[in-house]
């Protein structure tokens, strides 16, 4: 189009100056898209010195324990990566150290400057300038081409081209969903738009070109905080992690309690269902068999949210379930023994062990909800390292009905206790009998 326009212009001796200007304008218009929209070759050349392999290396063996990717931002010695890439070092800083490895083979030590554990981000600092800082950009329109960079499977610097699908609004994590084949080792690497600017940080994949990025604005916020401190390192990483987790839990639960909750019917009761748009509820009813003398209706809801702490431990998950069971054919003693009592149990949703958490402590009382008596238990265990963070299991079973039972289980993994109690109280207030 540009060329066509150029050639359609009238050319005369009296208009030499005009022709030169038109020629220049045509050249500029012709070449501008080439500079603005980079292809993967250009991205490769432009960024290969800004992307690094980040390694957690054992102090004694000098061998790498885990690897990921990172990239320079803001200034030549500041590197951004995922928290989960360096979590092995955070957990045992006296046994491991952090290193970068450049594409040219250069290595060097890294120091943790700050972290944002709730968005799985960490900012590291090298002892000298090691690369050209990458710039940030807004998330491009859905369907736009994107380029994910990193070191997949320790194979070296790689670029994977994909498509932006926008932010996942139906998840608390609010990750950017991209159609790209991210692989292990690319975590912490940048994903660029067609202008070569960072739109997100590689964080997760579920295979089949289903991958996720942390939006770059979270990294920008973290970097703003780091700049305010003049790139000085936080004093205590563990305390920072604890504080961030507790505040995140408080904020998330506070937000949830401000929402208008959806409700659903289960048995003869109306119960809260979706606490926010990022929650998902599934039917969990047991298929009725011909020989069954009872009817069980169940639903299970979860926030599908996990904050990575280490390879064995995630927190942030909230799940709740409702079970309604009734029978016409069972005598009360049989109804309770054969069905109702066997359903009354709740198990924690994470695999925290003795090194992570205390034992559960529980309290059991009979409470009045919707004019009906319930036997309710609250159990709590606290994290050793993350002060103020608890696993909370709450279970309630309706009592006093001969052939009807209702069980409500609420499970919060790594939560602020007081906020969890607020959520529990509000949820119980929403439980009502159908009229």
């Amino acid at each position: 189009m540009i060329i066509y326009t150029y050639f359609l212009l009238p050319i005369t001796t009296n208009h030499v100056t005009q022709r030169v200007l038109i020629t220049l304008l045509g050249f500029i218009l012709l070449t501008t898209p080439v500079f603005a929209k980079m292809n993967s070759e250009d991205i490769y050349v432009e960024t290969e010195n800004s992307v690094f392999q980040i390694r957690v290396v054992h102090d004694q063996t000098e061998k790498k324990s885990s690897i990921g990717s990172g990239f320079t931002v803001v200034q030549g010695n500041i590197i951004a990566t995922n928290y989960h890439v360096i979590s092995g070092y955070i957990d045992a800083p006296d046994q491991y150290k952090l290193e970068y490895l450049s594409r040219s083979g250069k290595k060097g030590h890294l120091k943790v400057i700050d972290i944002d554990i709730t968005h799985d981000l960490a900012v590291l600092k090298a002892e000298e300038d090691i690369g050209e800082p990458l710039e940030f950009a807004e998330i491009p329109e859905e369907g736009a081409r994107i380029f994910s960079l990193g070191n997949p499977l320790n194979l070296g610097f790689s670029i994977i081209e994909g498509v932006n699908n926008g932010i996942r609004t139906n998840s608390e994590e609010k990750y950017i969903h991209v159609s790209a084949s991210l692989n292990p080792g690319m975590s912490g690497g940048p994903t660029l738009n067609e202008d070569g600017k960072v739109i997100g940080i590689n964080v997760a994949t579920q295979g089949n070109e289903l991958s996720f990025l942390v939006a770059a604005n979270h990294l920008k916020s973290l970097l703003d905080r780091v700049k305010e401190r003049e790139f000085k390192a936080i004093i205590d990483v563990q305390d920072t992690v604890s504080d961030q987790l507790v505040i995140n839990s408080q904020n998330r639960l506070h937000r949830i309690m401000q929402n208008e909750w959806g409700t659903s019917k289960i048995g003869e009761l109306i119960v809260p269902s979706l606490l926010s748009t990022s929650y998902h509820c599934w039917d969990a009813s047991q298929p009725q068999k011909a020989e069954d003398l009872f009817k069980l209706t169940s639903s299970h809801c979860t926030n599908n949210y996990n904050i990575f702490l280490n390879s064995n431990l995630d927190v942030g998950g909230i799940s709740y379930e409702y079970h309604w069971v009734e029978s016409d054919g069972l005598i009360p003693a049989r109804f309770y023994r054969a069905t109702y009592v066997t359903m009354n149990s709740s198990v924690p949703a994470n695999n925290a062990g003795a090194d992570d958490v205390t034992n559960f402590s529980c309290i059991t009382r009979f409470v009045k909800i919707a004019g009906t008596d319930f036997k309710a238990s609250i159990c709590r265990r606290d994290y050793h390292k993350y002060v103020g963070l608890s696993d909370i299991l709450i279970t309630m079973a309706m009592v006093g009905k001969d052939r009807k039972g209702f069980i409500f289980n609420l499970d919060l993994v790594g939560s602020d206790f007081d906020s969890a109690m607020g959520l529990f109280e509000k949820m119980t207030q929403k439980i009502q009998w159908q009229k």
């Binding site: 068999k289 020989e291 069954d292 003398l293 009872f294 054919g329 069972l330 009360p332 003693a333 049989r334 109804f335 309770y336 023994r337 054969a338 069905t339 109702y340 009592v341 009354n344 149990s345 709740s346 198990v347 924690p348 062990g353 003795a354 205390t358 034992n359 559960f360 402590s361 529980c362 309290i363 059991t364 009382r365 009979f366 409470v367 009045k368 909800i369 008596d373 036997k375 309710a376 238990s377 609250i378 159990c379 709590r380 265990r381 606290d382 050793h384 608890s390 299991l393 279970t395 079973a397 009592v399 006093g400 001969d402 039972g405 206790f417 109690m421 529990f424 109280e425 119980t428 207030q429």
Partner: protein
């Protein structure tokens, strides 16, 4: 006129030999007056002479294994005057020399009272067995939420019936060997109670657990039953069948129950030595359609206030304590 009696104690049984001669020999050889088939006794081991009026003398004829009179070693070929009663150790055999006028122990009166005696009556023993089988089936029925025929409930508990039968046969067999009698009904009662009581205690435990909203009492009851039920029933059985003294019966029962008791004690030790950390929360899950309970119903707000007081303090103290310990280390 009083006679001399030689009592030979062997494997808990006593043999009594009234002596009418003034001179008798004791040993393994067949030409002795009292022949002892005990390998540690010499062919001619002891010589007893005299009578109760003139006095008795005992001579050790053996120079092989040790011989003792009233716990004192009697050298070989030494004649020792004795007064009755006298205890003798010949080799590994214990003998006593008694006068026929020695007072006998009071007669052990057969017990015709007590609940175990009543339950050992054929009618009650069979009734108890039928009730136990009924409880087996009822337990299965109550624990099954699906529609089944009565025969399926009966058949599915066959292992319980077999265990009951096995235990009954063991008791009745041992009793037969010991007493040379077929004590069928007391054995049936013992076997039935051994299986019935735990079932009833379980059911009672569930009710108590719900009443207190706490498993402690029911767990104690179950543990007591699992450890003590067998020795208690065996004690009652021995007293009833063998008319033994209570202490003696308890001793035998404990001896027989030792493997079971040891098994439970080992379990307790294992539990006590197990790691302190438990993944699952320990709260009272019991529900009861009777809804008979100690606790009043409270509001959800009061419940949360209580939870905050109890759980907040406990958990944080635990963490603070652990952190302090780590810091000290």
């Amino acid at each position: 006129m009083a006679k001399v009696i030689i009592e030979v104690c062997r494997r808990g049984l006593q043999q009594f030999h009234p002596i009418s001669n003034d001179r008798i020999t004791i040993g393994r050889a067949f030409d002795n007056d009292i022949i002892l088939s005990e390998s540690t006794v010499s062919a001619h081991h002891l010589l007893i002479e005299g009578d109760l009026d003139a006095g008795l003398n005992i001579t050790n004829l053996s120079n092989e294994n040790i011989t003792k009179l009233n716990k004192t070693v009697l050298p070989s070929d030494v004649k020792q005057a004795v007064s009755l009663p006298v205890d003798i150790i010949a080799g590994s055999l214990k003998l006593r020399v008694l006068s026929s006028e020695t007072a006998v122990a009071p007669t052990q009166i057969q017990k015709s009272k007590g609940i175990f005696h009543q339950l050992s009556h054929p009618f009650w023993a069979i009734s108890l067995l039928i009730f136990t089988l009924f409880v087996f089936i009822a337990d299965e029925y109550l624990a099954t939420p699906t529609d089944k025929s009565i025969w399926q409930y009966v058949v599915i508990k066959y292992t319980s019936y077999l265990y009951l039968l096995l235990f009954f046969l063991v008791i009745v067999g041992i009793s037969r060997l010991a007493s040379h009698r077929w004590d069928v009904f007391p054995a049936l009662t013992t076997a039935s109670l051994l299986f019935l009581i735990p079932e009833l205690v379980d059911y009672a435990g569930e009710t108590i657990s719900y009443y207190f909203s706490d498993d402690t009492v029911s767990n104690i009851m179950k543990n007591i039953v699992s450890v003590l039920l067998l020795p208690i029933l065996l004690t009652l059985f021995i007293i009833h069948v063998a008319h033994s003294k209570t202490l003696q019966a308890i001793g035998i029962s404990l001896l027989v129950s030792t493997p079971l008791i040891a098994h439970h004690i080992l379990n307790f030790i294992e539990e006590a030595a197990a790691p302190d950390f438990v993944h699952l929360p320990n709260y009272n899950k019991q529900l009861s359609h009777w809804d008979i309970r100690q606790q009043e119903t409270i509001s959800i707000v009061d419940f949360i206030t209580e939870a905050d007081k109890k759980l907040g303090d406990e958990v944080f103290q635990e963490i603070v304590g652990k952190n302090e310990n780590e810091n000290e280390n």
